[in-house]
Point group: D2
Chain length 409, copies 4
């Protein structure tokens, strides 16, 4: 009888490589590796050899970048979903996409379990596992870092373990930040960032761009168009969403845009401090917001803002595959029908400076807004409006006056 | 019998000067002028002569800058109240303070009416009048621009009217933006801004500072301390709130900070486009937010965010003197007890770059956050947490699987 | 050249009958009457003669009961939209449906205006007019009760006016409550209700049913089924929504259900007091809520509750034809997919007593809920859950203890 | 050296009695029992003998009923905090009060741990433990039912264990519902309730009152007064809050009021089904709500409703001793200043029928509400109000018309 199979989320790094022999030894599994590409821009050549050499029976390399952009990123952009004022959810949006792909491979391979290398202190374990539970509640989930049978408590121990299992591979020395990267962003944790009193060492830290101080002295203009809430062109050139984000990353990185230094609240109850680079995403979200300013009415904007905050929490908590996320997305989609038009910016040393917005569906009316009386506006209407708008205040104040008067008698 | 008195909100400009003879002629009032100083930084010398010469029987000059800073600005800063993502409510917060002062003078003078020069298309008429209604519901409110008896429809007509009433004064030519200024900000509307497709002419427009491009090439560090949500020192020097804002205006203006270009939704139903400069306020709010990151827990932050958005709407709509504003403020105050600590920034060409935050009440714990297992954290706890946190998803997925299975039988 | 046409919302009562000659005389319009039937259960025979006799050139009788039930009532039921804790929005939901029909007739007739008989103090004028503005912004709206040219200030004056225009019709004496009725509800205002200190005279007032005290001593069981949030059967009999409401009205009215006595806040700024009878609607909404208890998860329920409250405000304010209402409805619809199952009640003297609920999509699991440990639940998980769930509180408390200790040194 | 002490939440029942010898044997603790009386109405005579006989070294009987009513119940009543539409939080509000008392005794006794008998599947473990963590993060918490060293898996095993430790006591046979009772309510779980399809057996189940069907045929009137949101008198007699609740329990129980049958979502992730009796609380909350209808303005009511829902979640989740609960309570308190007045009801077979409300601070104005034009209301104001209130809709509709026209060209 053949062995049971496990699908391992594999990156090629030391951690997930050491997991391969450990899964075989500890659980007697046949290990199917799966590397899901969300645009992290890493070298994937040689990954298959590495996986097989380390004892895996197969490696899948799955590129979900377009799926990630269209079905995970765009709904969040349209919702203006930002966690705790600053975090653009780069890692949070990618995890469910990866989980979905792992489940798909597990089904295809008839695997009984999925294994991931996320640690026991972070949010990612939650996001992976809630994704898997929602899509395949029957699959077992293995998280070695939380597993009592996992005995390696350092990189050295992992290297020792690999060697003891005849895996002799070069692994990069880990004296750097703890990072997560995909097409949307890169996150940095650790080193000096662990003390919120410390200024980040941006020269050392930045990967996707430069700091505002290192950015060019010359500003650069940028024009984007949207159709129904989806970006369509940059500087007149039509591109798919993934390519738009790539292009914006290049521009934003160059001009020092989208660097965020945050102390955030993890789902598992503690605060953590990190730096995020989201150069293209920051521009994309600002462009979308700017267009909505012209096109959405006041009531819709106000409720949509609450929905966006709520979506950010839901996504941050790993609750992507839930009825609530679907319902919020349905709300947001309904508001995007007319988010069509052109936005123009000037990028300059960390700044995204608005330089004009137009839309066929603009609700801005120059005749109405101008302080010259126009056709559609009769100043006397304001009189009636204020009388009724202020009526509750006035009734209340009169009642209080009356009570006071009686009291003073 | 002596004439009835009206208190006129007086600035010394053409509009409010022309109102003096108009009030006397039209309503036979004794006109008491009142100029309320919220730190707008205008020359007030000679204002009394001007008012009396124009027919007023008295001029009050009332400096409410400290009141404005402590009782109107600070509650909004603590709430992080921002209207439609961008507007820091500079004009909105000042209007109720001015209204309260006008009512105070009206009571002192036994006046029967208050007159203001706000137009019939804007928000300010609402803010003034709701303030007056709430504090003195018995007082009559006169808004000449909405009054059928007001016949002047241009600056020339107003000048003519003044001359016809023997008021010969120099008035500045009005070929500029429509502006409102106080210690917190300056707003600009009109001219090229009336077309949202137009890039603002910042060289022409800016008053409180320069654009990022014109800002110094050298960054500048800044350290602030807060106690219980109130700013106390800048670079080690203790100051009252108004002086802190003054100092921050100077620094922010110099470094091109706090310039906002927005299409916003007015209360009276139309969109308008404006540019706001809030150099010091932008720094103050960011500093406060940054300290809260360390000190507030996740649940409080999330609900406080909703409360801040709500307060921004309430204040924007002129509903300052209401039970709802008081209740929201009570909520916010309750969260500020431990917002004490030090924040450090680097100001550079429009950027406020965080450079370290500390607080005795910081909830950040390095042992907890670090990915090395610490005393207070047992990785196994995460297992149980995820199991229960994900239980609803799993139960749901299992139910659906079961139904599908039955269906396929 | 032929006269311009106006479409008049016509009921056959004194008010709208007097409007016919007034529109002709005052505006020289050709008057097209339109009576929109939302299930108000009034006699419509003879209405055409009455309208034509009074000077109208045509009468449309339009039955929109099914449209009202399916497209206006059901979205609100699914959202659990209740205004200020109590009001089930009977009138609010009907007005936009009527407005849409009036606009349809106006287009068909090439009319230039629409006229309604709602007073200037109520919410209905807003609901009619916002509906018309949203669907046909070019049409003129005539509201005689707010029109300076309308001089009749009493029923007697209206009768006089009719006679003077050769309209001799019997009109009921108006010594009763001010009422609005449709298939969903009837509202009562006026008489003793104008003083909130007064107990309503239910014997005199009730139309759709009896008070709990007059209801039968025998309870009655009732079973309903829903599919995807839509009611399908009553006691096993399949019916369309309108018939289900009719049947529930009969049952609820008989058993004294759905009588509400409320002081509510009108949009135009004052409080008003009314009694609503919504016998069937009260049962329908409770049945739907009960099924959702079984089927919706906790997160979805919590956000949906906020959305329902928001929808209630939007609908109450007459903002039906808006992007916000559409977006909220999209949210709600997304949650209804699995609201399928059977609910059972006992009706007894004003009470709706639950008697069992089932659903194929029920998320209730007896093994999980029971205090006997089951397969899917390991008590140890709770340990981990509580540790992390309570971590922020504990970290905070430890920090405070530490500070106190240092302080006491 | 003396033994370390543990404080045990003690009820005298089998579970907590068996815990005494177990704590001594397993952890070698000196066991201090503490029975906290929240008005559960149980016989406490003989409890001390029972505890000491079972091996405890001391028993505290602590009556916190007044504290419970004033500091836990009233803030929730004022907030109108109801969990998932129905649950009046009876158990949720009591747990933090009990936790606070346990901590107080632990400090007094210099204990190192607190032990409670709540199960591992319910919410109470969370509420106890979060309370203890927040007030005394240094104390160890022992939850035997989740403890690996606890081996008793049935009542029989517990009785065996007691006997083996020479504890020979009569224990009631447990063939009933699982219940929790205090002054505010009693909850019932288990037996037929475990199947949501089953109608509750009310004759068997109810403790605090009768079902509507068993209630008297004669209605009974009831008058209450409030001052600043706090109930002061019943039928003219002044009483403290606890006595008011006692009196209301008697009346409500008699008339079949406040019985709720719910499927609710526990914090630990599963749905559970229970029946709650809250006879007095249901009347008290309705009375308070009714007074607020007269006294609170529309804006405050709307936001307060959201705050109440939020508070219900926070309290349900055991997060009483948190900054968020404090902040919400500050919001609510701020709204209660004028919630003063008299409410009158008729109680009849499960119904609370309003019979008139008055308040010196009532914002209801008969002149304003009545459809006869009054002093304070000019019908023309409505014209202006609607024009501006509907302006965004109209502008939008015109823009769409225009686009369509261009498109059709």
């Amino acid at each position: 009888m053949s062995k049971e199979k496990v699908v391992l989320a594999y990156s090629g790094g030391l951690d997930t490589t050491a997991i391969i022999p450990w899964l075989k030894e500890t659980y007697n599994y046949d290990v199917i590796c799966c590397c899901v590409d969300c645009g992290q821009g890493e070298e994937l050549d040689g990954l298959e050899e590495r996986a097989l050499y380390s004892g895996a029976s197969k490696l899948y390399i799955e590129d979900i970048t377009d799926d990630f952009c269209e079905n995970y990123i765009m709904p969040c952009v349209q919702a203006d979903a930002v966690y705790e004022n600053k975090y653009l959810l780069g890692t949070s949006m990618a995890r469910p996409g990866i989980a979905a792909k792992l489940v798909e491979i597990a089904r295809k391979e008839n695997a009984v379990a999925i294994c991931h290398g996320a640690t026991g202190k972070g949010n990612d374990q939650i996001r992976f596992e809630l994704g898997i539970k929602a899509l395949a509640p029957d699959l077992k989930i293995i998280a070695p870092w939380r597993d009592d049978k996992w005995q390696m408590d350092s990189r050295d121990a992992e290297i020792e373990y690999c060697k003891a299992h005849d895996i002799h591979l070069p692994f990069s020395v880990d004296n750097s930040y703890s990072r997560d990267r995909n097409l949307w962003h890169i996150s940095h944790e650790g080193l000096e960032l662990e003390d919120p009193a410390c200024e980040p060492n941006y020269d050392h830290l930045l990967v996707l761009g430069v700091s505002p101080e290192k950015a060019p002295d010359e500003p650069e203009y940028l024009t984007m168009t949207f159709e129904a809430g989806v970006p369509k062109t940059i500087n007149g050139e039509e591109m798919k969403v993934a390519d738009i984000i790539r292009k914006l990353n290049e521009l934003g990185g160059k001009h020092g845009i989208g660097i965020v230094d945050i102390v955030e609240n993890r789902v598992v109850g503690m605060k953590s401090r990190g730096v995020y680079e989201t150069p293209g995403g920051t521009i994309l979200m600002e462009a979308h917001r700017q267009l909505e300013e012209l096109v959405l009415d006041r009531d819709t904007m106000a409720v949509k803002k609450d929905m966006g905050n709520k979506l950010a929490q839901v996504v941050y908590e790993g609750k992507w595959f839930t009825p609530l996320r679907e319902a919020i997305q349905a709300f947001v989609e309904s508001t995007q029908k007319y988010v069509t038009g052109e936005v123009k910016f000037k990028l300059y040393k960390g700044n995204i400076i608005k330089a004009g917005t137009t839309s066929p569906y603009s609700l801005y009316s120059e005749t109405l807004a101008s302080f010259t009386t126009g056709d559609q506006y009769d100043h006397h209407d304001a009189e009636g409006f204020i009388t009724l708008f202020g009526l509750p205040l006035k009734v209340r104040a009169m009642r209080m006056q009356e009570l006071e008067k009686n009291h003073n008698k």
